[in-house]
Symmetry: C2
Subunit: 338 residues, 2 copies
């Protein structure tokens, strides 16, 4: 089948790789309806994370179940499913507490930029949609596999509540999803840090009320000015760098919350500063599985379109162009169909 | 009048100092009914915080209003009042958000181990009790000025909810107060880290269900064992050292919460570890003022006795013995009356 291998920085290839097979009785094999390129894939593509040997990349997916292992009971061949980028059993104490990404058996799903995918722990990882959706619903549903779920968690971890002034640091697809999440979770005012016109446009469509083009200390000063010197109630940090975290902490009001979902790269935290500002922080890989039933229902309700983050649609064979376009910021996020 | 001056490490003296006077029209002067020695006073007494010149120490107090400035409207001479160790206006956006300790005008109250005290921002800082209480209520009410309010905030910041398994790191008066707070806030199981029989006894009286005498990594292992390998829902870190924070983070379950109220001394935080564990943290100086009305009502209801943290009662003139006894861990907390 056609799959996507990463060989090293800047070197992603669409090639023929072995078809996945059931390894454990809890596995399912799905035929990919759509997949995409994630900002975190770019950490490897740009050489920020090491590629020690070639591997089948991609972790976002929707598709039709082809085959299930003997222990799988909740999904069956022919069903259209959406799953988390982290496989989880959904039965351990951590899953039941709402942290499936901290599941005792958690393992990353990988090899998803392919025509078919092996999903471990299928019962705990996949959620069947009400039906097989029309093609125009695929972008919205595909985002739930990671980027929209991650934005949702960022807003939850930030503690967004109705009436809040929220700030989103980062205008990548996750940041934009966090804007939409903050809106759905009731924020009144949503300030997004963005200096790219295409991203600003999506942010505005998603509910952003203010755009701040400044960065670093100037961005902090601007947000403070916009909030009457008080600072924001809830902040989604969707980048993962030290500058982004400093900005997020800097714009928080006394007792505000910061949710951080970008994998930390060189982020430093000061206990003393947190103490002095009473800022509450929570981060981590999003427990996407926990949100899937709710988010799928929102998409089916027809008025929730997180798929607008996809501004480049390509055949799977052209995956390398998807990486290039995102790396060069010609595209926010590339949508791929086999 | 009689007051208490700290001259340097180990050198606290009861001596005659000037009577306080109204400086700003928002001030009040109170006659001290009771005051006490705080664990944070010991940072100076032990030389961990510098004493660059002699100053009038003490920040916990209850008393009778003697005089108010021309702008004070909510308390009046003759009333018995309790106030926070941090003065606040209680009208700025931070106060209205419940973070009076982050008030735009916040300033520490000091000189409280004295026969009379100047309280800045009296309207925003002091709360009048329903009446002038009997002497046997003074210990309970005095704790609300700092230690019980701080324990209350530790539990709130940790996110204690009904049914939780809570852990308290630190068996000083704040830690013990956090045990009582966790109990009042609905925790089912309360594990306290303590290796002193007298403190264990108070903790048990306050609602602790399990005592862990181990420290550091051994304490983490023991708490993990007690929680079936899962970890605790909510943790109050009431010490302020790096070891205490590592212990608190180490016993938290995926998605658990840590509230930290000990002023951080050398505490290091890892963004990566927080990310991997989904642990939520919040710290700071407690917004005691926010809790005073509720906590005063609990004391007056008759079944809430945070004053049990006082195991040494001395005349104010013997304040130096109070410091010595606490420093040598012969006493948990020293109660002083003029």
């Amino acid at each position: 089948m056609r799959g996507t291998m990463i060989y090293g920085p800047g070197d992603v290839r669409s090639e023929t790789i072995p078809d996945p097979v059931i390894v454990d009785p809890t596995d399912a094999i799905i035929e990919t309806s759509a997949t995409c390129v994630c900002g975190s894939d770019l950490w490897y593509y740009r050489g920020d994370n090491e590629v020690d040997k070639p591997w089948a990349i991609g972790h976002e997916y929707v598709g039709i179940v082809r085959e299930v292992g003997s222990a799988v009971t909740t999904v069956k061949p022919g069903q259209f499913v959406i799953g988390s980028f982290f496989a989880s059993d959904n039965t351990c104490p951590h899953c039941l507490y709402g942290y499936q990404s901290g599941c005792e058996q958690a393992e990353p799903v990988t090899g998803c930029q392919s025509e078919a995918i092996r999903i471990p722990l299928a019962d705990g990882t996949l959620v069947a949609a009400p039906d097989t959706p029309a093609d125009d619903m695929l972008p919205d549903l595909l985002t739930l596999s990671d980027v929209m779920g991650t934005g949702w968690y960022a807003a939850r971890a930030a503690g967004v509540m109705p009436g809040h002034t929220a700030v989103v640091v980062g205008d990548g697809a996750v940041g934009l999803s966090a804007v939409l999440a903050a809106k759905e979770q009731g924020a009144d005012r949503i300030i997004v840090l963005s200096r790219h016109a295409d991203r600003q446009a999506v942010a505005t469509e998603f509910g952003a009320t203010d755009i701040v083009a400044e960065r670093g200390e100037e961005a902090v000063a601007r947000v403070r000015e916009l909030t009457g010197g008080i600072g924001a109630d809830s902040i989604a940090e969707c980048v993962g760098t030290d500058e982004a975290m400093r900005t997020a902490l800097g714009v928080a009001r006394q007792g505000g919350g910061v949710g951080f979902v970008g994998l930390p790269h060189g982020v430093k935290l000061s206990a003393g500063k947190l103490f002095n500002t009473h800022v509450r922080i929570q981060g981590g890989g999003a427990p996407v599985r926990d949100y899937l039933p709710d988010l799928i229902a929102r998409v089916y309700d027809g008025d929730f379109h997180p798929g607008k983050v996809f501004d480049l649609k390509l055949p799977l064979a052209d995956v390398a162009e998807g990486y290039r376009a995102m790396d060069e910021r010609r595209a926010i996020k590339a949508f791929l169909t086999p």
